[in-house]
């Protein structure tokens, strides 16, 4: 289907969103192609989390968002995830009172039982330290292990596009690397990834393309292969810092 292939998997144009009357995003254009890893970078407060939350239907937004050939206007978070768009929210928020296994089963609650169990097992193989505690309540995991569990929840459904909000927060360097390896495997299996990350170098090493967001607008879009990228990124970041009056 050549016409469909030309369209990006996720295509947001003129996307604005915020909290109540407070606007955070001002007309953002962003696209993610099928099987592509896109990094979304920017200083804290730039609107990265807001963007992800808007796309997955957790915040009201205006503009135009299409996903897998479908208009997401008015779509509920449930519709969005059913359409194949997964979202791992920031801050390792898992169901602490439930066992690890139930946390994962819940993440795919509407799949047929047999398939659900098979997928959970598949994901557990990727993260042995979580698999070892499968029958314990998630509260007994350390903060970093809960973060891994949250990422694992995002994988269980095998979404077409997985959005991750700072998956590395609270992870040890080796574990960060392992999560990144898993994301690379995802891409090889055809899943697209939209990654919000503070570990800029690692994100750039993984991603195909990068957006920089500052003050609610995209200030940079580039392929990660471009030679002058670090310089341009620094400019994009510094544009924020420079405007802030320095204290004496």
């Amino acid at each position: 289907m050549p016409t469909l292939a030309a369209e990006s998997l996720l295509q947001a144009s003129d996307l604005s969103a915020g909290y109540g009357k407070i606007r955070v995003l001002h007309g953002v254009d962003l696209r993610v192609g099928a099987g592509e890893i896109v990094a979304l970078l920017g200083p804290n407060g730039a609107g990265k989390t807001t963007l992800l939350r808007a796309v997955s239907g957790l915040l009201p937004w205006s503009g135009n968002v299409r996903f897998a050939g479908r208009d997401l206007t008015g779509a509920s978070p449930r519709d969005v995830i059913k359409a194949g768009l997964g979202h791992v929210i920031e801050g390792h928020r898992v169901f602490t009172q439930l066992p690890v296994l139930d946390n994962l089963l819940l993440a795919a609650y509407d799949l047929p039982r047999g398939e659900r169990i098979a997928r959970v097992e598949e994901v557990l193989e990727l993260f042995p330290e979580v698999a070892a505690k499968r029958h314990e309540r998630a509260a007994s995991l350390s903060g970093g292990q809960q973060q891994i569990l949250a990422v694992a929840q995002g994988l269980v459904r095998r979404p077409k596009l997985l959005m991750l909000d700072e998956p590395s927060a609270g992870l040890s360097p080796v574990l960060v690397d392992r999560v990144l390896v898993v994301l690379r495997q995802l891409r090889e299996a055809g899943t697209a990834v939209l990654l919000v990350e503070q570990l800029i170098e690692k994100a750039l090493a993984l991603a195909d393309r990068v957006y920089a967001l500052a003050r609610g607008s995209i200030v940079l879009e580039a392929r990660t292969g471009e030679a002058d990228l670090p310089l341009r990124l620094e400019d994009a970041y510094l544009a924020t810092a420079r405007r802030t009056p320095q204290s004496d």
Partner: protein
């Protein structure tokens, strides 16, 4: 920016809050309206207005329990009943010699205080619904006793209410009496709300773990609150009896109890003005819809649902115009580490915090296994290791949240008592949390001031009455908190509601709150998680400055750059055991550490 000018303590006003006049203005308007009410309304509306005042006397106290401390006390009508009967029976003199009505009211308030404490005590053990059920139980018991104890209460026939002598015997005289008491209750609870006690109550409600780490004792705080709340509720009962002129157990329905509770919910938690308006609204509403009186419970339910759905923060949120202004989106956190010396102005001695053969199991799993560790004052000590290697567990043992099975934590050689987390604050051991624990509905400044709660000198009663020691405490806390906020670089956001901040700002807020203790040892749990590279650099400079003034800093972290940049000493854990310890340079090249943790 002239930091000194900004840090000058502002005089606390009657409300003790920082934005002086605007906060008190709505209450002053209500005061004037109330004083002038007899000019407009008359007859029946006078009774309604008096009833609103009586209800508010009760709700003002209950508001501290429900709205501030977050305890679900539904059956508070028990205290109204108790106060009504005590005042009436004592004033009527059918059991004892007749007491003058004022004395009877005072005795009722005293009895109410004691019973308020008894009804409230389960809150120290039971949570949420369990506590709610016990208060409902008390409400039922009191009504049953009133029905059964005929020789005193008159049973189902009831007793006449007290009549207050001149000048309070006329309709408007009695109105002014009730209005005066209501005004005094408003003033006292507003004083308390803006004191360290009020802030500590909200901390217990929304961030109990952080409250404990700041040394706030839940029992010591809730006991005076229940005493006060019970006393004003019983006093309201005495007034209620007089207003009704004759009371029977039927007058004290559970509907009334629900009304008090809902008045607080629709008013908004942690506010004085909101529940006050809520009380007025719920008193007046049934009168406007008199034909619908049979539907009153239904109307409450609808009102509650609408409020919960449309404005979850209640009337208080509706009136909170200040926090609707957008914040600058390109704000940056710029700490001023040079200010730290002003915060730690007293000379500080050396000292160590040591872990000695520490071991701790979770149901057979060894979380910490025979660990020795020494943290020196004036140094930054890094604690790193794979996820689940026991880093946070160590922090929790040091700060008293977990009990070790073996070994000891020693402060300058003295073993710290196990699980005594509140005492850690007095020993000047402060901490932050992996997930920031913040009171979202309070301002950033108030959140930071919570950290200095134990350094206040004034008592609960002094705060209620806004006596000089209370005002001195508030001025000192305010100045110190502003200094701490300037140090971490958040002074510009001092007045903003904390739940409007970004994640990285919450991390720095927690550090400011910990600095309020002027800690000898500061324990930080992943302070750099979610921070940008720039913010991490600034955090590093700040932590170094905190160590340089003689604080021992223990950092649990995953950012190798931060750890290797600022630490004097690094300990690496694996599976609860020591994998390596040494200087950053030694650790960086340690082969096992590279394999197990840093990666190639």
């Amino acid at each position: 920016m002239d930091a000194a000018a900004k840090l000058r303590p502002r005089r606390a006003n009657v409300l003790g809050s920082t934005s002086t006049f605007s906060a008190a203005l709505p209450l002053l308007v209500l005061l004037l309206l109330g004083l002038g009410f007899p000019l407009f309304g008359g007859g029946y509306w006078g009774v309604i207005a008096t009833r609103a005042c009586v209800y508010w006397v009760l709700v003002s106290g209950l508001n501290l329990v429900v709205g501030f401390a977050g305890q679900i006390a539904i059956g508070w009508v028990a205290l109204l009943t108790l106060g009504a009967y005590t005042t009436s029976v004592l004033a009527a003199g059918n059991v004892t010699p007749a007491f003058p009505p004022y004395l009877a009211l005072a005795i009722a308030a005293t009895v109410g205080g004691v019973f308020g404490l008894i009804i409230g005590l389960p809150a120290l053990r039971l949570r949420t619904f369990y506590f709610a059920i016990t208060t409902l139980g008390f409400a039922t018991i009191v009504t049953q006793v009133a029905l059964a104890w005929q020789s005193v209460t008159g049973g189902g026939v009831g007793v006449p209410g007290p009549i207050f002598p001149e000048p309070f015997s006329s309709q408007w005289g009695f109105y002014y009496f009730c209005f005066g008491l209501a005004a005094i209750c408003t003033w006292m609870t507003a004083n308390l709300a803006a004191s360290r006690f009020g802030r500590a109550l909200t901390a217990i409600r929304d961030a109990e773990v952080a409250a404990e780490a700041s040394g706030i004792s839940k029992p010591a705080l809730l006991v005076p609150v229940f005493l006060f709340s019970g006393a004003v509720a019983a006093a309201a009962g005495g007034l209620f009896a007089s207003l009704q002129s004759y009371i029977t157990p039927d007058a004290f329905t559970l509907d009334l109890s629900v009304l008090f509770f809902i008045a607080i919910l629709i008013g908004g938690r942690g506010s004085i003005l909101g529940p006050l308006l809520g009380t007025i609204l719920l008193t007046v509403l049934p009168e406007l819809a008199a034909p619908l009186v049979a539907w009153s419970t239904f109307l409450y339910a609808v009102l509650l649902l609408v409020i919960v759905l449309a404005i979850p923060g209640g009337i208080a949120e509706l009136l909170d115009f200040k926090n609707r202004r957008p914040l600058a989106s390109d704000r940056a956190i710029i700490p001023q580490p040079n200010l730290i010396k002003r915060l730690f102005d007293e000379p500080r001695e050396a000292g160590t915090l040591t872990l000695e053969q520490l071991a701790m199991n979770f149901g057979g799993v060894k979380a910490i296994d025979d660990l020795d560790l020494e943290i020196r004052r004036g140094q930054v000590h890094g604690l790193i290791g794979p996820n689940g290697s026991g880093k946070t567990t160590i922090l929790n043992v040091i700060s008293g949240y977990y009990a070790q099975q073996h070994g000891a934590v020693r402060l300058n050689g003295t073993a710290l008592p196990i699980l005594a987390r509140r005492q850690r604050a007095r020993m000047r051991i402060a901490r932050t949390f992996q997930t920031p624990r913040i009171v979202g509905s309070a301002s950033v400044l108030q959140n930071v001031m919570i950290g200095g709660t134990i350094d206040g000198k004034g008592t609960f009663v002094e705060s209620l009455l806004s006596l000089p020691r209370h005002r001195r405490d508030e001025n000192t806390l305010h100045a110190t908190a502003m200094l701490a906020l300037a140090t971490v670089g958040l002074d510009r956001l001092a007045q903003v509601r904390a739940d409007r901040l970004q994640h990285s700002e919450l991390r720095f807020t927690e550090i400011a709150r910990a600095l309020m203790l002027r800690p000898a040892f500061l324990l930080l749990d992943e302070p750099a998680a979610g921070l940008t590279t720039e913010e991490i650099e600034r955090l590093g400079a700040l932590l170094l400055a905190i160590a340089q003034v003689g604080t021992g800093v223990l950092v649990v972290e995953h950012h190798p750059d931060l750890i290797f940049d600022i630490c004097h000493h690094v300990t690496v854990l694996n599976l609860g055991r020591l994998l390596a310890a040494g200087t950053p340079a030694e650790i960086r090249s340690h082969r096992e550490v590279v394999n197990a943790y840093l990666g190639g």
